[in-house]
């Protein structure tokens, strides 16, 4: 492991510059680390500050970790629907094109919102991997959409309890119900009447929410960027 013990004093004395991930990331770049930097550990960081490792994103701590988690999932969804609308599966109807375009715009708005709300604490852009999806085929696209939407709902529901800010909890609530509307619509497109079937709703009529670790595992095949969930998982 390549440990950077002797931080240049000019930077150390100016460590305020290093507090935010974005600055620290530029610093790592400056330090010349590429492959070697993947195992680089910065000394002198506050314990709570995320250690940024090249090639991976780190959700960070506290409420920011939850927001970055949401931001990551919205990035994934937005990228997916952008491809869906660029490619358009064969046999797509005008109604489907219109409503899938709506969903693309919603996910992009969510993505841009989180990026703006997180500011300097936002993770970078994720590199996605949709090689398992055949964008020319309706079934392949809709099944992937169903996976992403159900996962999104389960993720938001499961992460609500990690938020300490009532205001941020309200925001998460505003978004998750829209994801649930998407999920219901996509499911009905695949098989009408499955908008809330027993694969996602339990015997008490409750959505089956998921822990961040389970969500990230399910999303992993679609994300190339290595994710460090910070304090979330």
């Amino acid at each position: 492991m390549n440990i950077l013990k002797n931080t240049p004093s000019s930077l150390e004395s100016n460590s305020g510059l290093l507090v935010k991930g974005v600055h620290r990331r530029s610093f790592l770049k400056w330090a010349g680390g590429t492959a070697a930097a993947t195992s680089l550990i910065l000394t002198g960081c506050k314990e709570d500050d995320p250690v940024i490792v090249a090639g991976e994103v780190n959700f960070g701590t506290g409420d920011n970790a939850v927001l970055n988690y949401a931001y990551a999932l919205e990035q994934l969804e937005a990228a997916f629907y952008q491809r869906v609308i660029e490619s358009q599966f064969s046999g797509i109807t005008a109604d489907e094109r219109s409503l899938l375009t709506d969903i693309r715009d919603h996910e992009m708005a969510h993505r841009e919102f989180f990026k703006a709300a997180l500011g300097v604490n936002a993770i970078g852009g994720l590199e996605v991997d949709f090689s398992s999806i055949d964008f020319s085929k309706r079934e392949s696209v809709l099944n992937a959409a169903k996976t992403f939407e159900d996962l999104g709902v389960a993720a938001y529901n499961g992460a609500g309890r990690f938020l300490t800010s009532p205001d941020l909890l309200a925001i998460a609530g505003k978004i998750v119900s829209v994801e649930a509307r998407h999920a219901a619509y996509i499911r009905d497109l695949i098989n009408n009447g499955t908008f809330a079937d027993s694969t996602v709703i339990d015997a008490n009529g409750l959505e089956m929410s998921k822990e961040p670790s389970a969500v990230l595992m399910a999303a992993a095949p679609f994300i190339k960027t290595k994710i460090n969930a910070g304090t979330l998982a």
């Binding site: 715009d105 992009m108 709300a117 609530g173 978004i175 119900s177 649930a180 959505e207």
Partner: protein, 277 residues
């Protein structure tokens, strides 16, 4: 501040509390897995009793939130129950199957909430007598023909589901320190949103100009009572960020992308119309 932090603080000040707290802290930590370990019927009781153990007597507010939710769930459940019992109202096949699915969820929510309230040491509110015409007991409100007019039935159903979504959403911040109850409420909230989306598509299939999501503050229903349920949905500023300034999105897309909450007072102003006594 969450349970674990509070318990840690108590423990630091009073190390002798440690033994007593350990089992409780472990119970809280394990809560996420509780659903897998208990039978489904036992979960709501566990939510309530866990809350009671952790918070002792200060459960009033949460019981209030749960009773408020229970009232709305009673309303939805009985509305669908009566609709399904109204001969000739809902077409056989997919529409009847969908409404049955939704009714069963609302019924399950009623039972879940009653058990959770009891578990928290509270008393579930008595079920009101409903006037589904929206006439506060007169039977002659604006929706008096909802059980003979399928289009109107779907319009009222959409209104109730979208109200449910907004109502649960409005209570989430009040539960920020009560993780178990919060998660349960969120897990009901998204189910109501799934219902709303499906009902909206049923209306669309019957010629209404609506989408699964809410555009601006459009209800797609020409009625002043209903409009109160949709007012505020046109908001485009979230957490101080004006999403319009982020570029590239139509105002419609932005309002659709974020569902808005309603306060308890706003919801009750509507719900009261459906309550006879």
């Amino acid at each position: 501040m969450d349970f674990l932090k509070i318990l840690n603080m108590i423990e630091e000040r009073d190390p002798e509390m440690s033994d007593r707290l350990n089992s409780r802290r472990k119970a809280l930590r394990d809560f996420a897995d509780l659903g897998k370990k208990l039978t489904m019927a036992a979960v709501p009781l566990a939510v309530g009793s866990m809350f009671q153990k952790a918070y002792g007597q200060s459960t009033t507010n949460v019981v209030d939130v749960l009773n408020y939710a229970l009232t709305l769930e009673y309303l939805e459940y009985r509305f669908y129950e009566k609709a399904l019992a109204s001969a000739g109202l809902i077409p056989a096949g997919a529409p009847t199957a969908a409404i049955t699915t939704i009714m069963n969820h609302e019924k399950a929510h009623v039972n879940f909430l009653k058990t959770a309230i009891t578990g928290a040491g509270g008393t579930p509110v008595a079920e009101p007598k409903f006037d589904f015409s929206g006439g506060q007991g007169t039977g002659t409100g604006p929706f008096a023909t909802a059980f003979t007019n399928y289009q109107l039935f779907l319009a009222v159903a959409q209104s109730l589901e979208d109200t449910g979504v907004r109502a649960y959403k409005g209570q989430a911040p009040n539960l920020v320190q009560q993780n178990a109850v919060l998660t349960a409420a969120l897990n009901i909230h998204s189910v109501e949103a799934r219902h709303a989306a499906h009902i909206r598509m049923m209306r669309k299939a019957n010629g209404a100009s609506v989408k699964p999501w809410i555009t601006g503050k459009d209800s797609g229903i020409d009625n002043a009572v209903v409009q109160a349920i949709y007012n505020g949905e046109e908001n485009t500023t979230q957490a101080g960020v004006d999403v319009k300034t982020l570029g590239g999105f139509s105002a419609n897309a932005i309002t659709e992308a974020f569902d808005e909450p309603l306060t308890k007072e706003q919801v009750l102003a509507v719900a009261t119309l459906f309550i006879a006594s």
